[in-house]
């Protein structure tokens, strides 16, 4: 690789690292993703420094150009990232749906219980069916 290419890669690495660090500091990345993106950022200079190794691996898997091998690995990485976030999104949607449904049912049960409270109190002999300290007793 030419010095120009190396300088460009170092600049991209530095900017990416700064961005990820900034997001970690401001709690905008969960720990698990923070670690993953730090690994991704360090992969960039690793690929530059280990260029001869990248060349031999690309020849070994039958890809003529090391850059094509790097692009292919990037594509594979993005494929798994998309798959992971699709699964995560599906799971989050299911959890959200279940929570909203549960909330609606529990709210309804709570309203039902509240409406029954005075009746139960009367059966138990309490005045107006509620505790004297109950702020909702006369509402």
């Amino acid at each position: 690789m030419s010095p120009k290419q190396i300088a460009f890669m170092v600049a991209v690495f530095a900017i990416s690292l700064l961005l990820v660090m900034r997001m970690i500091v401001h709690h905008r990345l969960r720990e698990v993703y923070a670690v993953m993106w730090i690994i991704v950022v360090f992969t960039l200079p690793a690929a530059v420094l280990l260029y001869p190794w990248l060349s031999s691996v690309s020849v070994w898997v039958g890809i003529e150009s090391p850059l094509n091998f790097a692009f292919f690995m990037g594509f594979v990485f993005l494929f798994f990232i998309c798959l992971h976030f699709s699964a995560l999104n599906s799971s989050t949607q299911r959890i959200l749906k279940d929570t909203v449904q549960r909330l609606a049912i529990i709210e309804s049960e709570l309203d039902d219980l509240k409406s029954r409270l005075p009746e139960q109190g009367r059966e138990a002999g309490a005045p107006d069916g509620a505790q004297p300290s109950d702020p909702t007793a006369r509402s």
Partner: protein
């Protein structure tokens, strides 16, 4: 006012014990009505159900309406479950199913739309059809010979025919009205409806495929439907129709794939 309504309904309960369909011993009937911005219709629908099925409990699932659907339904005597945002028809329905399952006292469940298109008197006839014994789910159909001649727009009728054909191809069963939202079913179907397998986008033909693949018995019965006066529809517009068709095809494909994988992995297709 509520007490007066309660008193009146208990008298109606006693008077209608013989009129209502025979439920399993100790079991009740729950009518689930999903509703989104139906303040203008919901009270009439709830009152119609109370008149047709006096002994039944009615639950309206208010799907994040911006109008007073919840208040109108509550004043009409229904239990109201309010979703805090508009989650869609399927999620609203499943909330009602989960309410029924959690209550544990309903042996028959009826679902119908909140826009007044379904005639509440159909609910009783669907339950009677169920009591005849050989169905887990009875669909109120617009297309049986005894239907009331309700005219479905041509394009929608083509869509219904397409999915009806698909259901026949996949399950070997002919169901003409695969998109009817009027259904009565028992606890076996409820078990499937509250499971994770329930497709909560637009539960139509895909649900029928799911039930038939689970070995449940599905029948159709004639039902009267009224024209929708408001002109509102979930399937309005070219994009919505296209999205519905693609999603329904995907949903049916996933149900079949999941059923085959489950059968392959554990020789058990249903929960």
């Amino acid at each position: 006012m509520d007490e007066a309504m309660t008193g009146a309904s208990s008298q109606q309960d006693a008077a209608a014990t013989q009129a209502q369909p025979q439920a399993a011993p100790g079991g009740g009937v729950l009518v689930i009505i999903p509703a989104y911005n139906e303040a203008a219709n919901i009270a009439r629908v709830v009152a119609g159900v109370a008149a047709a099925l006096p002994g039944a409990d009615v639950v309206v699932v208010n799907d994040g309406s911006s109008d007073d659907t919840a208040g109108e339904a509550r004043r009409a005597g229904a239990t109201v479950l309010t979703l805090n945002s508009n989650m869609g028809y399927g999620v609203a329905l499943q909330t009602g199913y989960k309410f029924a399952a959690r209550a544990g006292r309903y042996h028959r469940v009826v679902q119908m739309d909140g826009d007044g298109q379904h005639d509440p008197s159909n609910a009783a006839s669907l339950l009677r059809e169920m009591e005849s014994g050989d169905a887990d789910l009875v669909i109120g159909s617009r297309f049986t010979s005894a239907g009331n001649g309700y005219r479905v727009p041509l394009l929608r009728r083509c869509g219904i025919s397409f999915f009806s054909g698909l259901v026949r191809l996949v399950t070997g069963r002919e169901i003409r009205d695969v998109t009817s939202g009027l259904q009565a079913f028992n606890a076996r179907v409820l078990d499937v409806y509250v499971s994770e397998d329930f497709p909560s986008y637009y539960p139509d033909a895909d649900v029928l495929v799911l039930l038939l693949k689970c070995g449940l018995r599905v029948r159709e019965a004639p039902a009267r439907m009224h024209a929708n006066g408001t002109g509102k529809s979930m399937h309005k517009g070219l994009w919505n129709n296209f999205y519905y068709i693609v999603t329904m095809l995907l949903s049916i494909s996933v149900i079949i794939l999941r059923e085959r994988l489950k059968r392959f992995l554990s020789s058990k297709a249903c929960a």
